[in-house]
Symmetry: none
Amino acid sequence: MSNCSFIVIIMSSKKFSRNKQEKIDLIYKTFFTLILKRGYHKTSTNHVAKSAKISIGTIYKYFPKGKEDIIRKYFEESMKHFFKRINLISVNNKNIREFLNHFILELYKNHLENKGYIIAFRSAIQSDKNLLNSQKKEVFIFFKNMAQELRMTNESFKQIPEKKLVETFIFIYNLINAILYHHLSIMELFDTDEKIIDFLSNLVIFSLNYLRET
Amino acid sequence: MSNCSFIVIIMSSKKFSRNKQEKIDLIYKTFFTLILKRGYHKTSTNHVAKSAKISIGTIYKYFPKGKEDIIRKYFEESMKHFFKRINLISVNNKNIREFLNHFILELYKNHLENKGYIIAFRSAIQSDKNLLNSQKKEVFIFFKNMAQELRMTNESFKQIPEKKLVETFIFIYNLINAILYHHLSIMELFDTDEKIIDFLSNLVIFSLNYLRET
Amino acid sequence: MSNCSFIVIIMSSKKFSRNKQEKIDLIYKTFFTLILKRGYHKTSTNHVAKSAKISIGTIYKYFPKGKEDIIRKYFEESMKHFFKRINLISVNNKNIREFLNHFILELYKNHLENKGYIIAFRSAIQSDKNLLNSQKKEVFIFFKNMAQELRMTNESFKQIPEKKLVETFIFIYNLINAILYHHLSIMELFDTDEKIIDFLSNLVIFSLNYLRET
Amino acid sequence: MSNCSFIVIIMSSKKFSRNKQEKIDLIYKTFFTLILKRGYHKTSTNHVAKSAKISIGTIYKYFPKGKEDIIRKYFEESMKHFFKRINLISVNNKNIREFLNHFILELYKNHLENKGYIIAFRSAIQSDKNLLNSQKKEVFIFFKNMAQELRMTNESFKQIPEKKLVETFIFIYNLINAILYHHLSIMELFDTDEKIIDFLSNLVIFSLNYLRET
DNA sequence: AATGAATGAGAATTCATTCAT
DNA sequence: TATGAATGAATTCTCATTCAT
């Protein structure tokens, strides 16, 4: 690591490179915060610029198609981050139940932290069907990789055919998302974090049994 | 022509209220159809007028606050219609399981028929929190009435305290809505109507047991 | 005529119909006047609205694609008007020389009256090649019709094959336009109207001889 | 690497001014090429920078007023170059007809090679009348010099008064430009290079006769 | 000298809403 | 009542230009 410190200094001296990521993150943060307050279609790029105290030109420099691009690029970044976190769990957990609980918890944290983005995403797919398809593909690829990995490292998963495993993961992922979104953005189903997570955990077990039987 | 003029006057005096409701229904239909095609925030009142071949003035005559009013008034009407249909079932069904299946089926049909409206409603609540509260109130009142009625006419429900019964109904209602919306507008969870309904039916039974135990 | 006066009153009572054409003409006039003053690319739709004291929405009501549409629609109208005027001449003139002089005079008047439009047209074709093609087609159709008519009614033209006649007209039309545009918008070639018209008239005779010989 | 550093320093001290002119030429070339593709008002300095793979700062270093300056400076340079080429002819040709043909050919080549610039110039003069006046002055000075020279070295020109000669040259220059521009940028008058040049050549002879007689 | 991030005025365009007819 | 022309604030987006590095 100490060998790298010099390189780090050289890299950070590269013009604007640090500011650049800071600006992008500021745009994300401001945009999704405003969406939480005023809703997607009442949040304009000019609002974001004014609120973030940057110029409108800067937003269009990094996101040439405006709002649509902010969502699309955040989607790409957030998927990677989220899946990285999920992956860390999968390797270390051998018990399915334990793994599921972690998975649900991560999804829950993700929803809490990205509420504005999730609302934006759901608004954007209304007029941009490609966005939804992109997401479906990413989700498929991720769970395919996860299934392959789990089947290689874990005896409990080895018995289930890969295709079935992937389909099941995607189903569970969508089921949890459906309920979490409703709980967080439409109407609270339970009054504490623990309760909703426990409910989802049991619901997933139920669903897995249901899927197995049918 | 002169022969007809008297008839026309007579007819129009009768037709008047019918025409009004026809126009309103045409506005609803056109608005929600356009939303399905282009999304909520790309559907303007002017578009609706052009597409429905009526004047923009007419829309503002019946819905003085535009899009917001269309959604709000349709919400009021649709709630009444939907609850009427549910009520017809509740009176005639004594078996809980049977009742649930009907309830789910009605919710499913409602979602299918009102997809555009449901998308519109979810977009509108982002910037109009009152709309969501109105809905919560209506839902509460309806299930309170339903609970009272069921407890009076049905032995199976009499054992459950009214408050608990109402809460449970509301929970089930929201749970089903969450999953149906995701299934119909975000990503298909099952490939046939029967499968999703059967899954929901079992899911509700599971949830009722889960709620009873906790 | 007196029989028609009643009809005229009825027609003018038709909502906005008179204002509509007035507004359109006002937009044309204002737009082309501003272009003369500030050039095409420094004349914005908002400028036109402000200068004409109408709202920007009105411009986009009649010209949904903005500046491009103003030019395109004026082009269509002006071609018709111009060709109508030319046609009136062709029928009444049997002497080719006399006909040419009228033709040149009409083109000259057209250029003088539509200087702003001609500048706009030449700017617009830079990024809208269709506009130029449309014009070529219209010019071709007009001169084809004119050639047919002249060959039917006039002995002097009967000897020239139709195709040759059309090509010659188009050539002359373009040659005159080239020189008139330069004279009026780039640099004066002669100091009086009479001189430029006389020069063009002789130039056309020269060109016709040149074309006949080659 | 260290072996080369000295050479690099030596070279860069020599290359410096050459690099500067290379950059300027690259800007000219890129700008006028883009104008041919997209038109003057859709070609921005930022586009030029991106397309030429230099920074926008470099463009503003050499052309502090942006597009306007590029055109103005190219205008100055190109006038000199063009007039140099014309001058070489004038000295070597004693026959007026022969001289004219060379003159027309040079103008034609100039138009072909500088199409983008010519479009740009005509767009720029719309909002920058000084540009047009500068050009008129340059043209006047050039033809005055040329007239003086020709009258000194050539018997055929000696008979014509200087003022008349200058005016005639300017007239011919503008006439040819008018037709060439139309032919190359609006509508083809002839299908080969030879034909348009022959036509122009005869046209100029005609015009000279016409001017002499009036 | 060269870079390119950043700016913000201003252009194009949309859309909810009003109002004369 | 019904119409749809008219409005103009608000939105998206571009582009000439500046300036820190």
